[in-house]
Each structure stands twice: as structure tokens, then as C-alpha cells.
């Protein structure tokens, strides 16, 4: 039949996680359609129409979709579900929020955070914080899937799909968006940055994270943190890389003062290159690092800053 990908966006920009979900969807069922639920999100719909492999973009333009509140978005997806045998969304906090609602209403199980499509009905997904991989086979019928986007390559922007504009599917009035407080940053987002530099408990304070900011500015990197650093109050929760935070897989991951707890490794071990700086040479992070430097970060990081300047960064 066809698959429907629910676009991730902020009203203005189509997020890269959508491009990756399109890649996964194309392996499950074709043609691939993309649903953009938004309010005044024409630019997002246009961007989605350019993704290679997408046949059609359905753009539901209604004020109730401005903040992707779960109840109305699930209702919208359900109103379109008949025409699709697979419905996929990136496993972002949005996708995780509305997709199980869709699955339960359709009376089908959801397959969460797939890493790989083995065949159109068989998927690999992480369990136990990525310490085991389960291969699961879905029964015939509709599939509702969330996608761990770090595991798929993004669809390229070489396509030209049609955009069909539709209205909203209504709202039951049981929930509403009140406010939001988003972290402001000039830097790339953690989950889509090519380079991530993260600090752990070894950073000792929130102040000290500014040392990482300087390096991040030079390398156009995002700044992350371990759960220990977040729990210690050094940085806000949305910095957290790990099983209970964000899962990242950049080209380069630099772990600074991070010991490498299982829960952190689960969030970054798929990075292409891992560099670690830690004064404890026994730290488990060195078991996964391509390049390890046993050093005091308070010496190494300022030195790295200087060296990068010398190298012209």
C-alpha cells in the first residue's frame, strides 16, 4: 500500500529526523507520503516535498497543530490511517507522545525506536538501554513505528513531490498547549550536530562548561552532558546524552570528564569517532574511545582551545 511519515518540525524548519524517517519508511512500504501537521508551516511542507522518495506531502494547516499537542495530532493521523499500511514517526519527544495513541486506537502494537528494517515486517530495536537488540516480527496488518533516527541516513533533498493541503481533523478540547521554555542556542542541535562535545561530573560546575562552549564554537559543535552532570545541576536536562536523554551519533563525539556509565554509552556509542579526555585511565569511556587522552581536563581543554586557534579554527 503506502507508508505515512509524520514530519518533525518547529513550524518553520523541517527537522533532519524526518529525512531519516523517510529513509526507514521507504524500506517498509512504498510509496512514501509525509504528513506535515502545523500552523502556517508552508515552508516545512515545501521542504518535505523535496525529499527524495516522497511521492506526496499532506499538509494539514490548522492552529491546533501549532505545538503538535498529542490528542489533536493523533486524531489527524487516525483520520488518514486507512490508506496506509505503515505509519512512522521519528522517536523524538513528539513522536513518542502521539504515536502510541495512534497505535492503541488502531488496536495494533507499536514498534518503538527501530534501528534497522530487516524486511518489511521484521525490525531490530534496542532493549535494556541498548544492551541487547531484539529482532521482532509484526503480524499482518497496520504497523505503527517510531524510528531511532541516528540509525538511518537522511533522504536527500533531490525530489519534487506534490503538496496537498487539507484542513484540521478537529479537537476534543481535553488538552491544550499553555507555554514553553526552549533553551536558546546559536549552536547546532545535539541530535543533528556533526560534532558533539560533552562534559561529565568531572567538569565540577556549570561555570566550567563555558570552557566546552569555546571549543564548540570553534568546531561548530553542539554541547552535551552526562546524566551525572545534569543531576549535579551543572546544565539543564536538555543537554543530557544517554539512554534517558538524547541519543546522538555524530561524526565526532568528544567526551570530557565523563567516566562512561552504561546509560551514557547507550546514548553515544554509535558515534563515528569517539575521543575521550579523562584523568582516570581506568574510566570505562576509554573502552569505546577511538582516541583516549589521560589528562586533567582543566589543563587539556584550555590547551585544546589554544591549539585549535593555532590551527586556524
Amino acid at each position: 500500500m503506502a507508508s505515512l511519515v509524520i514530519a518533525e518540525h518547529d513550524g518553520k524548519v523541517l527537522k533532519d529526523s524526518t529525512n531519516k524517517t523517510v529513509t526507514a519508511a521507504a524500506q517498509v512500504s512504498t510509496p512514501v507520503h509525509v504528513l506535515v501537521a502545523g500552523s502556517g508551516a508552508d515552508a516545512v511542507a515545501q521542504a518535505a516535498s523535496k525529499l527524495a522518495g516522497v511521492e506526496k506531502v499532506i499538509y494539514a494547516d490548522d492552529a491546533i497543530y501549532a505545538k503538535l499537542v498529542a490528542e489533536p495530532v493523533a486524531k489527524l493521523i487516525l483520520s488518514l490511517a486507512d490508506k496506509y499500511d505503515a505509519i512512522l514517526a521519528p522517536a523524538t519527544t513528539n513522536g513518542k507522545n502521539y504515536m502510541p495513541r495512534v497505535a492503541a486506537t488502531l488496536d495494533v502494537p507499536q514498534i518503538s525506536e527501530i534501528l534497522k528494517v530487516d524486511s518489511p515486517d521484521t525490525f531490530e530495536r534496542p532493549i535494556y538501554a541498548g544492551n541487547a537488540i531484539a529482532t521482532v516480527q509484526a503480524a499482518p496488518g497496520k504497523k505503527v513505528i517510531t524510528v531511532r533516527t541516528t540509525a538511518f541516513k537522511p533522504a536527500e533533498a533531490t525530489g519534487s513531490a506534490s503538496v496537498e493541503k487539507i484542513g484540521g481533523a478537529g479537537d476534543d478540547g481535553i488538552s491544550k498547549f499553555m507555554s514553553e521554555e526552549l533553551s536558546k542556542s546559536e549552536r547546532p542541535e545535539l541530535t543533528s550536530a556533526k560534532i558533539v562535545i560533552s562534559g561529565g561530573r568531572g567538569m565540577q560546575s556549570g561555570e566550567n562548561f563555558h570552557m566546552l562552549d569555546k571549543i564548540a564554537d570553534k568546531l561548530h559543535a553542539a554541547v552535551g552532558a552526562s546524566r551525572a552532570a545534569v543531576d549535579a545541576g551543572f546544565v539543564p536536562n536538555d543537554y543530557q546524552v544517554g539512554q534517558t536523554g538524547k541519543v546522538v551519533a555524530p561524526e565526532l563525539y568528544i567526551a570530557v570528564g565523563i567516566s562512561g556509565a552504561i546509560q551514557h554509552l547507550a546514548g553515544m556509542k554509535d558515534s563515528k569517532v569517539i575521543a575521550a579526555i579523562n584523568k582516570d585511565e581506568e574510566a570505562p569511556i576509554f573502552q569505546v574511545a577511538d582516541f583516549g587522552l589521560v589528562a586533567d581536563l582543566f589543563k587539556a581543554i584550555p590547551e585544546m582551545d589554544e591549539e585549535l586557534t593555532k590551527l586556524g579554527y
Binding site: N94, Q110, S112, T135, F177, F286, V288, F291, E303
Partner: protein
């Protein structure tokens, strides 16, 4: 207002899990089991509501083997009032769990159900949302802060990029994230008291729910192992290596 808190018995979060050699699952023999950490946060939040006089009764529900009654006892020792154990052997998928919880909600008529955002064994992150869908109730996932109002709740949620507040009409389902609260330890007198609190024993059939898994687990394997690389001696050597492999 009654509050229902589902609690799941899982491998303790400190235990390093081992995949069975025959690839049928992970080894649960002689492994320490505990309450799912997110569920502890749910129990704590429910008890706080009771302490503030906003909840009248906290009911802990577990769906699992006979030993899951220990997990309910833990919730009772923390301060929950009574328990319901729905006995099943083998794996129960989130959709089946949600169907059983739906039936319990219809019988108990709670004002709020508080579930953990996910269980740390199957990492599904589905049950709360599915329950809300089946009941036609609103949901507030990944809760960071709860403010209960009159017939409604304002719930601050942890989302990618920051925090978001939604208002939901009650009854509703809330799923808990890590920073909602810090769960208490049960005191010895409360552990003793919990032994006298009632636990109802039921089966999925009592609720007319078929718990046969809909997804077939073909195999469970170890994730690919990453090889340790090399140690470098200085920052300049590190940067040279990173340049060499094209990482910077």
C-alpha cells in the same frame, strides 16, 4: 480523587544484563529484580498528592508473575493504600497492559493515572499514551512538574529543546520523567505496615483481555561491540589524529 499507579517488576537498573546464549532473551535467573525506576517516581508523586490532601486513595497495580506482588509491597511501603496484582506469566506487551489498566480504571474511576514514561526492560515508552487513547482521556507525557487544579492539571513536560506546559482535563494520564521528584525510601515501620495492606489478585481473563503477544520476538542478540582505540599522549597529538581521520 483516586490515583492509580501501575508498577512494573524489572531487572534492577544496576544489573548488567546478559543475553542468553540461545538468543531467546536476556537471562533473568538469579538476577536482582526491582521496581522500574520511573514507576518509583510515579508512586512518589501519587503519595505526595495524598499528603497534600489532593488524592484520597493511591492504588498500585502490577501486571506480571506472582513475584510482582513484592513490587506492589514496595509501593505500599512507600505509602500507597492498596494493590491489585494481575497475574500473568510471560511477556505482556504495552497494548495488553493498557487494556487491563483500562478495565481497572473503569472499575475504580480514578481522577489521575500516573505511569512511568517507560520501563527500563523493553524501553517501549507506550503504556501511558495507549491507556489514555483507549479511555479517550488526555495525556501529559514526560512530566517534570504537576500542578493539580479544579478538574484540570497543568503539567510541565520535558521535550526536545526544553520544557512545555500543557493543561489537561481530568481524568487524565500522566507519565513521569526523571526530574519530577526524588522517590523516598520506605521506613521500617512503613514496611511492616505495608504487610497488612490488601492486595487483590486477578487474572487478565477477569478483565476479558487477551495478553498473547502480537509481536513475535525472533531473537535477542548482543549489540555490536566497539573496539577500544589508542591512547594519545597530548592534546596536539589528539587533534592531529582527529584531523588525520577527517573528524575535524
Amino acid at each position: 480523587m483516586k490515583v492509580i499507579v501501575p508498577v512494573k517488576r524489572v531487572i534492577d537498573y544496576n544489573v548488567k544484563v546478559r543475553v542468553k546464549a540461545d538468543q531467546t532473551g536476556v537471562d533473568l535467573a538469579n538476577v536482582k529484580m526491582s521496581m522500574n525506576p520511573f514507576d518509583e517516581i510515579s508512586v512518589e508523586e501519587a503519595i505526595r498528592l495524598k499528603e497534600k490532601g489532593k488524592a484520597t486513595e493511591v492504588i498500585a497495580v502490577s501486571i506480571g508473575p506472582q513475584q510482582a506482588s513484592e513490587t506492589i509491597r514496595t509501593a505500599l511501603a512507600m505509602g500507597a493504600d492498596r494493590g491489585i496484582l494481575v497475574k500473568t506469566d510471560g511477556e505482556v506487551e504495552p497494548l495488553a497492559v493498557a487494556k487491563i489498566l483500562k478495565a481497572i480504571c473503569e472499575a475504580e474511576q480514578p481522577g489521575l493515572v500516573i505511569t512511568g514514561k517507560q520501563a527500563i526492560d523493553d524501553d517501549s515508552n507506550q503504556t501511558g499514551q495507549m491507556l489514555a487513547a483507549l479511555l479517550g482521556w488526555p495525556q501529559a507525557t514526560f512530566a517534570h512538574k504537576l500542578e493539580l487544579g479544579d478538574g484540570k492539571a497543568d503539567i510541565e513536560r520535558e521535550i526536545d529543546g526544553g520544557l512545555q506546559t500543557v493543561e489537561v482535563k481530568l481524568p487524565a494520564v500522566m507519565t513521569t520523567d526523571l526530574r519530577l521528584n526524588e522517590p523516598r525510601y520506605a521506613s521500617l515501620p512503613n514496611i511492616m505496615k505495608a504487610k497488612k495492606k490488601p492486595i487483590d489478585e486477578k487474572t487478565p481473563a477477569d478483565y476479558g483481555v487477551d495478553v498473547t503477544p502480537r509481536l513475535k520476538t525472533l531473537k535477542v542478540t548482543e549489540p555490536p561491540k566497539r573496539q577500544a582505540g589508542i591512547k594519545v599522549k597530548s592534546v596536539s597529538e589528539l587533534l592531529a589524529k582527529l584531523k588525520e581521520v577527517g573528524a575535524i
